[in-house]
């Protein structure tokens, strides 16, 4: 690895109103290295990357590219300087072909008047040859999310960039796809391209990166070769305190109860749910694992009557439920926390307090349906304090919060109705390490207090660390269940896999 610095940032600051997002940050990137950037949400990594990509302009500080001070006025300028940015959110056109999406930027700078589709497809196929076997002529909307993410990466690769920024690219990828991506990243680095790799996942950082930089509260905390630092050090640097245990204690032998909170018998809604039966006991946290699309969320949403018309018997605390819709489910104390927080979990532009009260407005209103602002604020204050919500004011919009705190608002919304059972679909997706373990602790406390907790997650370590028992779903059926020492990634994967091409792709 060469030691020459291609990008050097010194004493960079950026504020948004009163919020200091970056405070005198230093950062350097060497030629041909893979440089991991870690930090909790709100630590300043995204702001820094947006500055490098010209989306944001710094208030003060210097950016040196090859030793020359530069001003990066816009993403187009960044592109011209050889900086490519793969955003976490997919920003592609769903209605045109994969090939056209990949070459969108290039079509943009092309001098030709006419589109040469044949050539586009050939070139796209060339890029994909090393990446995946995606057909470049299909419409983007027909691809899975993970394949769309690969298209996003392929798009950046076709621009002749010297610096490539990848913002949590593996969040939506399967293990296999991620490994392919890492292989390609290494190839690119060997060709002299410098990669900034943003990730929360320690394993990825330590297996694939050369150096790691940690940010916290807008400040640069540490930069080190991965060989000279441990994952524990990185986590501690990110959180700013020593994290001794990532997951809360499990249910102890004394807490095991025979009282059944939820019992589901022969839940059916062909073809997505087939003959699903299970039970949840008081005090335990039940996990649901499975491949994306196996029917995990569908089971939860079917039980709550959020969608579909599943048949079968559902008993909550011994009472057989005949729910007509989700309102009935809420009334019975059974709620569902959505997996897509921004899409359908919170009202981003509405105040925090109005988000928390949304599930049952009657609680903050008088009998004739008039909302009492003071009750609403009090409710939000009580729940916010319970969940250690960090916010300026309870009337700020939810969009002003970090991912972890947004998720706490979503959770507070669930808790506002004093539920007896909560389904949590990907409860810590896009949530930083600190808030994640806080949420896990909250869930454990709820379970201890007799609230039924069922967690759906794609993150196996989370399921294994948090749950007392994990039920695995495959093609709409329950393919098995693991508990205690049998709860290993291998066992869960084996139960989740189907004996075809998908099997390898978990």
């Amino acid at each position: 690895m060469q030691d020459d610095v291609i990008l050097k940032i010194s004493n960079l600051s950026k504020s948004f109103g009163a919020v200091k997002a970056l405070r005198g940050v230093d950062f350097d990137l060497r030629k041909g290295e893979i440089h991991a950037v870690a930090g909790e949400n709100g630590a300043g990594k995204s702001t820094l990357m947006n500055v490098i990509d010209g989306i944001l302009q710094p208030d003060s500080g210097e950016i040196l590219l090859d030793g020359v001070p530069v001003t990066i006025a816009s993403p187009t300028e960044a592109q011209r300087l050889g900086i490519g940015f793969v955003h976490q959110e997919i920003a592609l056109c769903p209605d045109v072909s994969v090939a056209e999406n990949i070459f969108m930027s290039r079509t943009n700078v092309s001098r030709s008047w006419l589109m040469n589709y044949e050539k586009l497809e050939q070139e796209a196929a060339e890029v994909f040859r090393q990446l995946s076997d995606i057909d470049a002529s299909v419409l983007l909307r027909d691809l899975s999310i993970s394949n769309q993410q690969l298209v996003e990466i392929a798009k950046a690769l076709t621009l002749d960039c010297r610096i490539l920024i990848l913002d949590e690219p593996t969040a939506a990828l399967t293990e296999n796809e991620a490994q392919t991506l890492f292989r390609i990243m290494r190839q690119l680095a060997d060709q002299g391209i410098s990669i900034i790799y943003i990730s929360h996942r320690m394993v990825e950082i330590f297996d694939n990166c050369d150096r790691v930089t940690v940010f916290r509260d807008g400040k640069h905390i540490v930069t080190n070769d991965v060989a000279d630092i441990t994952p524990g050090d990185v986590v501690n640097a990110m959180v700013g305190r020593v994290v001794d245990k990532l997951y809360p204690e499990k249910q102890s032998a004394g807490e095991v109860s025979d009282e059944i909170i939820l019992e589901v018998k022969n839940l059916n809604e062909a073809p997505r749910i087939r003959d699903v039966s299970f039970a949840l006991k008081r005090g335990e946290i039940l996990g649901i694992a499975g491949l994306i699309g196996a029917g995990r969320s569908e089971i939860a949403r079917g039980i709550c009557r959020l969608e579909g018309a599943a048949t079968g018997e559902v008993r909550l605390l011994g009472e057989t439920l005949a729910l007509r819709n989700y309102q009935d489910s809420i009334a019975k104390g059974m709620v569902y926390l959505s997996e897509d927080r921004k899409g359908d979990g919170v009202f981003l532009e509405l105040p925090i307090s109005e988000n928390i009260s949304a599930l049952n407005l009657d609680q903050v209103a008088n009998p004739i349906g008039l909302i009492k602002a003071s009750s609403e604020i009090r409710q939000a204050g009580d729940l916010g304090r319970k969940l250690n919500l960090k916010c300026g004011s309870l009337t700020d919009p939810v969009s002003s919060l970090s991912g972890g705190n947004q998720q706490k608002v979503a959770l507070a919304k669930m808790l506002s109705v004093n539920p007896r059972l909560i389904f949590l679909d990907e409860p810590t997706r896009g949530v930083d390490v600190g808030a994640k373990s806080e949420i896990h602790r909250i869930l454990r406390n709820l379970a201890r207090n007799g609230v039924g907790i069922i967690v759906i997650s794609s993150e196996l370590p989370e399921l294994i660390g948090l749950c007392d028992r994990v039920m695995v779903v495959r093609e709409g059926r329950i393919s098995g269940e693991v508990a205690g020492h049998e709860m290993t990634e291998e066992n869960i994967m084996r139960l989740a896999s189907v004996m075809d091409a998908q099997a390898a792709a978990f």
Binding site: S329, F347, G384, G392, T395
Partner: protein, 333 residues
């Protein structure tokens, strides 16, 4: 982080966390009031007639009835919808009530029937939007044309003179209690009632949830289709009310009344802070929007500006108001 205070002890005396005056400064309504007052000052110097009682009365009469339409439109916009048919449906109410009256039906009953029919038109639109899944824009565009066609069909394209309308009916549109026209009183009642409902009731809070994020609202157990159906119906019903008031005021039913009115109404709501993406808007803002537009029109007329220029100026005001607001919003975030 310094700015992100841990929520240890929220201050219950001032739960909003910021001083009241600062909140006031940030509100878009404040900006509108300042602009309106500014125009008042300028116009009172520019035209001696401007501050006269007669002009004030004429001006407020002009925005009062449209103001009722703006209320319905604002609520519909908050829920994420839009209605292009308000002008035609208002004319439709007028024509139907007038036609029924000429056919010997009591004018109060005729008005009731007309308003009910308008509610029916709203429900009809709501059905296509929520059950069939069509977009508000298209459905209301079709209804705009259909309702206008119905108006022309009933009247043969000519205004119906309603000279025999009883005076107590005309009183709604033409009378006054003391110095204050009845029209203004009706308008104020609607404004106060709907402003209160929108800010305080659980029913209308659901309108905000639905417009802000329909899926999240559904996932909060809100029947979003029902909400949209009701806001659509409400908007058309208020058109019915406005049509009847107009009929009482004009003493006639005009089939071509309100062509292009939908644009004024939408513009007023948007200037007042309603978002075309749903989820935001206020009655007070919308009313200030309608007052501003009508103030500008009457000022331009007083200054003898050509009618053709008036449209250009009003369009430019809409564009500037929305642009300024867009930037202010960006800075606030």
């Amino acid at each position: 982080m310094e700015s992100a205070v841990t929520l240890a002890e929220p201050n219950m005396n001032n739960p909003q966390g910021v001083p009241f005056w600062r909140k006031l400064l940030k509100m878009r309504e404040t900006g509108l009031i300042v602009i309106i007052l500014g125009l008042f000052v300028v116009m009172s110097f520019a035209s001696p007639y401007f501050l006269s009682w007669a002009n004030m009365r004429a001006m407020s009469m002009a925005f009062a009835v449209d103001g009722i339409l703006v209320i319905g439109m604002t609520i519909l916009l908050i829920s994420g919808g839009i209605d292009l048919s308000v002008g035609s449906v208002t004319a439709f109410a007028m024509v139907i009530a007038g036609w029924l009256f000429l056919n010997g039906i009591n004018p109060w009953l005729a008005s009731g029937i007309a308003i009910a029919l308008c509610a029916g038109i709203g429900a009809f639109q709501g059905f296509f939007v929520t059950r069939i899944g069509l977009h508000h824009f298209i459905v209301s565009l079709a209804v705009m044309v259909i309702a206008r066609g119905a108006c022309l069909l009933f009247t043969g394209g000519r205004p119906i003179g309603l000279f025999t309308l009883p005076p107590e009916f005309k009183f709604i549109g033409q009378g006054s209690i003391g110095p204050i026209p009845i029209v203004i009183i009706i308008f104020l009642v609607f404004v106060i009632a709907f402003d209160f409902l929108l800010r305080r009731t659980t029913m209308f809070r659901k309108v905000f949830y639905t417009g802000s994020n329909e899926k999240a609202a559904a996932y909060s157990g809100i029947r979003t289709k029902k909400v949209i159906f009701l806001t659509t119906t409400l908007c058309s019903t208020l058109c019915g009310v406005a049509g009847i008031i107009y009929m009482a005021r004009f003493g006639s039913a005009q089939p071509t009344f309100g062509i292009g009115l939908e644009l004024t109404v939408i513009a007023a709501a948007v200037i007042g802070g309603a978002s075309l993406n749903g989820g935001s808007g206020s009655i007070l803002g919308a009313i200030l929007g309608v007052i501003l537009l009508s103030l500008v029109s009457s000022s331009l007329a007083l200054l003898d500006v050509s009618v053709y220029w008036q449209d250009i100026i009003r369009g430019s005001i809409l564009l500037s108001a929305v642009t300024i607001d867009h930037y202010l919003n960006k800075r606030r975030r």
